[in-house]
Amino acid sequence: MNKLAKLFITFVSAITLALASISSSFAKVEDGMIVLGSAISLTGKYSSNGVHTQNGYNLAVDRINKMGGVKVGGKSYKFEIIYYDDESNPKRAAQLAERLIKQDGVHYMLGPYSSGLTKAIAPVTEKYKIPMVEANGASRSLFTKGYKYLFAVLSPANQYLEVAIDLAVEKNGGKPVKIAQAFEQDAFSQDVRLGILDAAKRTGSKIIIDDKLPKELNDMAATLAKVKATKPDVLVVSGHTKGALTAIRQISEMKVDVPMLAMTHCDAAKLSKQHGKKSEYALCASQWHKNLSYKDKFFGTGKKYDKDFKKEFGYAPPYQSAESSAALLVFKDAFERANSFDRDKVRDALKATEMQTFYGNIKFGPGGQNTAKPMILFQVRCKGDVCENKVVAPTKWASDKFFHPIPPWSERG
């Protein structure tokens, strides 16, 4: 046998040995630690929201650990999270979920950011019967697959902007409205679109523009040109953070006048900071707002959470962070009620969750979605140069009146 072949065989056997020695998986609960796994978008198109999610998780882990950890069987355990970067790519996410479960021995998962990635991970966690509490996958189709180990602390995506259409109809004196809409081609935004379609049907409204926007959304001038020409009553845009930023940037550049602008992800995009007065009057769907009156013993109220989060990370928490923190509270609660690390017992405990957190009430429906918490709408309002998100619906928490219609650009300073 020649040298090259020998070298090759040595190489292969070395790798074989190395792999075989590390393939035995670690225990999921060791040294008083409960290890959770999560694939998070730290790079790629969802990187900003991925970081919001991760910050939310980390803040809650710190807080719970500091306040005594999780008590199971009379012993106190601390949370620890293993993160991988899924690169905003479903293929990578599915692979990493497998890796977390099989190689790192994780028995409990936290969700990734975005519906598409959650859709890719859910079949894996389901296969291995790993309970996953997710905070950022809102697509309705996640909850119609009969998944038994998937729990979402948020309201499904189709509920995001339905209310906005009702509001537009109400402002139009109960008469149907003309809707222009543009949605990114991804699972979440397309689900928001379904919600609008339902609302349009219900109210008899007409959809006059129905555009699809590419991922990596940087330009929607074509849609806006059409909006300028056809003058709809309401413009709906959804495309994660980039969609919100692009919409405001181009609407102000092109001076598009539309009486009502409904969007998602305004707070994650820090619209009121980044675009200031240009973003005024934008109506945004949100899972959470700091002014809501929920509370829990870990974070106190929403306002307190807002303060603590700002102190830790230097920016106001978008709802993506709040819901992520809530996911940890749900896990802690379930572990303590199950009083066991048996995965099926934990799953049953999760299923029976009924609690209040600073983020909202949480109770899981049959598909795993949170049925106890309504969506809210806020509107960006400015005083001088300082812009803020003011809750306008539902009326129970509304701090301000909904301002309608948006004044034309010619009258805006």
Binding site: A20, T43, K119, A120
Partner: protein, 354 residues
């Protein structure tokens, strides 16, 4: 073809045994091993027209994505209405029985190999007249366009994505799915290897090389270059389609631009792997894909958030220090070894000399 030499026989049977035993030896790494098989198939078949024929294609991802969508569509469409399955937020649940699942994926994979090959033939007829950079840019456009188009077709889920049928629940063993996809991909790998190896021993490869080295001269020699170029690309497409079909089933969720027509990742990786290992060689793409996969899986974990910087550095290092790939570098360093490995007559004469 000459009869397989004893040394090769040992090597091949060793590799096959290793391949068959791998999912049992490294049970936890089944998914990564499946990826490895698929990556090798992609690199090896890209090398056929990229390395041997000299037509650098960034568009092979088109066939990969096509295969993925086709397999999933056939697997669903054979038993249920496809439109209702993919309907975004569809409330209905359809469940494949075990038999349906395997019949579906079998037929699906067959379709996913044949149709991309036909498509490659049709597109190839149109664009293989382009040469050099023009061809590369044109194929780059193909992959991107396919992603955007697929993202607009409702029946395959459009922007919502396409959830492929879940592995039958009646099979209780949680390892079964991993094993199934591993062996499937390993089988395709062996198939692709045998085929490529056969091509390496045939006149067809010499013609492809002639096209690469001087197309006009090849034409002047009476070779119908267009015909061979098309066939070469069709072979690539055939295996890319198969690889895509397997990946679709393995990932479980198809997204138009991020999973299927993923030119930014898979499309670039297959080129990179072939170049890393050394294009225009039989083993180069295989070694390249393996090293690349190890590098990716190993380093990605430790440099969280910086992996693409590392990948960029890797590309720069490859281009500067190994422009001919690892095999090219080795060949330059130890030409006599390569004489032994590649050219049988030469090997014998070398042995006699010793």
């Amino acid at each position: 073809m000459e009869k397989v030499k004893q040394k090769d026989l040992i090597l091949y049977s060793g590799l096959i045994i290793l391949g068959l035993a791998a999912p049992y030896l490294f049970s936890a790494f089944k998914v990564q091993l499946t990826y490895l098989c698929v990556l090798i198939v992609l690199a090896m078949t890209w090398n056929l027209q990229g390395g041997e024929m000299g037509y650098n294609s960034f568009g092979n991802i088109l066939f990969y994505g096509l295969g993925m969508y086709l397999t999933a569509s056939v697997q669903v469409g054979m038993f249920f209405p496809l439109a209702e399955w993919t309907e975004s937020g569809g409330e209905k649940t359809f469940v494949h029985t075990t038999a349906q699942y395997f019949q579906g994926i079998g037929v699906g994979l067959l379709v996913s190999a044949i149709i991309p090959a036909i498509v490659a033939g049709a597109i190839g007829y149109a664009i293989l007249g382009l040469r050099g950079h023009y061809f590369a840019i044109c194929t780059l456009g193909l992959g991107i366009a396919a992603g955007e188009i697929a993202g607009g077709i409702e029946i395959i889920g459009a922007g919502q994505g396409f959830t492929t049928p879940p592995f039958p629940a009646e099979i209780v063993d949680v390892e079964a799915r991993g094993k199934f996809f591993y062996f499937l991909s390993f089988f395709v790998l062996v198939l692709a290897f045998v085929f490529v190896k056969y091509i390496y021993g045939s006149r067809f490869r010499l013609i492809l090389n002639a096209i690469r080295d001087n197309e006009d001269k090849a034409e002047a020699m009476g070779i119908q270059t267009m015909k061979y170029k098309i066939v070469g690309w069709m072979v690539s497409a055939f295996f890319c389609g198969l690889a895509g079909g397997i990946m679709g089933g393995l990932i479980g969720y198809i997204d138009s631009t991020d999973v299927a027509f993923d030119g930014r990742e898979m499309g670039v990786f297959m080129v990179l792997m072939a170049i890393l290992g050394g294009k225009g060689t039989l083993w180069g793409p295989i070694i390249g894909a393996t090293l690349f996969h190890f590098f990716k899986e190993g380093l990605w974990t430790f440099i969280l958030g910086w992996q693409y910087v590392a990948l960029g550095v890797l590309i720069v290092v490859i281009v500067i220090y190994f422009p001919e790939g690892l095999m090219g570098w080795l060949r330059e360093k130890y030409p006599e070894r390569f004489g032994e490995v590649i050219d049988e007559k030469d090997r014998k004469s070398q042995v006699e000399l010793k």
